[in-house]
Symmetry: D2
Amino acid sequence: MTAPVLEETYGDKIKARREHIKMDRAAFAAALGKPTQDIEALEENKGAPLTLDTLTAIAGVLGTSLAELTPEFVSDLDDGVSYQLPQDNPIIKGLRAGTNYYTYHCLVRTRTVPKLVPLLLEVNVDDPDAAAFNVGHDAHEVIYCMEGDIHFKWGDPANPREVILPQGSSFYISPGVPHTLTTTKGSGPGKVISINF
Amino acid sequence: MTAPVLEETYGDKIKARREHIKMDRAAFAAALGKPTQDIEALEENKGAPLTLDTLTAIAGVLGTSLAELTPEFVSDLDDGVSYQLPQDNPIIKGLRAGTNYYTYHCLVRTRTVPKLVPLLLEVNVDDPDAAAFNVGHDAHEVIYCMEGDIHFKWGDPANPREVILPQGSSFYISPGVPHTLTTTKGSGPGKVISINF
Amino acid sequence: MTAPVLEETYGDKIKARREHIKMDRAAFAAALGKPTQDIEALEENKGAPLTLDTLTAIAGVLGTSLAELTPEFVSDLDDGVSYQLPQDNPIIKGLRAGTNYYTYHCLVRTRTVPKLVPLLLEVNVDDPDAAAFNVGHDAHEVIYCMEGDIHFKWGDPANPREVILPQGSSFYISPGVPHTLTTTKGSGPGKVISINF
Amino acid sequence: MTAPVLEETYGDKIKARREHIKMDRAAFAAALGKPTQDIEALEENKGAPLTLDTLTAIAGVLGTSLAELTPEFVSDLDDGVSYQLPQDNPIIKGLRAGTNYYTYHCLVRTRTVPKLVPLLLEVNVDDPDAAAFNVGHDAHEVIYCMEGDIHFKWGDPANPREVILPQGSSFYISPGVPHTLTTTKGSGPGKVISINF
């Protein structure tokens, strides 16, 4: 597996931040407890490899977050597009309460939109009384019911809202709302397309 | 059809902005060319209905945008969720180059996430040589190939990239990238789920 | 006073939104309870002036917010810059607890950055025991102490944090934190530069 | 100098991301070319220290950016406030074209708002013909003229816009606009408050 390529170097990011806050190399070096020539090497991407500990200390001295000092990756898109053939979908068993609750087929993703997580989800349990909630997640979710009649529950697991959504229905779930899917009682498994973004 | 309910009044928004920039009512009234008691009525949501022209003038005087002075709607969600049954999907013919190119089945939407536009799209043309491009749009798009073999083209319409994506494939298209779908030559119609966000 | 110029028309914004959600004019007209030719006139900026009530109803039908349908203003900047001479600073009395607590000199503003509200603030009360709190506000604030010794209090008004900040000091206040300024006991008035953003 | 404290661990962030994209530990380990027990140790913050190279590879496998995997720092604010006494202002010489063009007094900063860089700036050159431009920067800037008459130039250095701004004036400069300050010809040095945000 090959690591992604960075758009800029850490040295460039660090130097730009230092100059933006009008700090000179001598003051930066003193605050870090390093000789000035080490700073020069750092900003020119020479010398010893940068460690996470050093980067954390640098972010502290430069009064910024780690995220602001980390470079972006070069895009993984192909003229603005990414696609994935069905045989390349990773398939994951989603266990809940000891059963194979969902089977996840992971669809296309791209580093340029990390929040986008599209899934084809097999709903394996056909008993709403055996529904097992998640705790909600930090993403919007929209679902299309592709096969089977979905029994959807949401909100407080102890006292949930619920609705039956036949094939062809669609629904939206806000970030942070606990929810769960089964199919209707005894109706066999179902399939939905679930897009998290 | 019932208009959505506003979370705040225009008067509240205008008053809050005026106070934030430390402008008093007399100066505000003078800049608008209105008597001070009209401003009082405006901020207390009495008097004549606000017109768009007046709101535009007010935004100018208060040095802000129209959007910053318009109240939010009360959420249309039901405990954080919205759903739509298949019989309620609006169905629209998408004409391109004189043919019924796509048929759109409009899935669930919510005012709280206006950029989310999920569609079930019937791909009616099975001839890649008859592909008709859009000009791209200002939204991310992710597509799941539900039925049929999709012939997908993107980029410069005069010299496009292209790939055949069988049922079960998925793909992502960046904002602004022109693209078009047909099915493969002579294979009949197809269906995809398309989520714009 | 002249109203600011819009970058786009309401008609353009409404048409773009309608097309983005794949709604045709007939369906839009039916949902609004208007004849289709009125919609055509609306989108082409002909016919009767748009009212706020109609715009609200339209936003409801198109499943979006009012803000998303309101056009931006043309920039009020002059090659990216705006400046204001001292004689053009509006001067406002800021009354608190019945006294002329602050005097605000309102500095340069621009519609392109509505949150930016820079002020020269005369601190008129030189008695920390007479300090009157605000309730915090929805903006970052940074202050430079230009004249006099500032007695700064923040947090819970019933049990505040406090510090004396001599001329040349500077401080930052997070959004939502209640705070107040006087000068030190009996030291006469002071002046600060306060930038809200 | 003490490094800032992290709000979460890298292990927590990595685990949350892996679970969000429905990848199991075995698949994650295989993609990284490591034994599964190393992944377990990593996510539980045991074992060998994380290096930047490993973090980059992990971000690649998890289809996200480095910034999304780096934890936030614990706030450096004191009940929502930060202040700095004048004797603690770092003072930096800003050389341009071989002269001591500006002297920067660096005012209060906070890691929670890294873009905020407030400065007291001594303008040392009193000859507009010797004005030396910067290339613009990626921040909004607002300036208050505290002492002296400022000669402000902006835009294309070969053919700049210019204006004289006496004490008490204020101005705003958009991100990316090249600009420079001197005082008026032969008038001695000046001082401004410059807030970048």
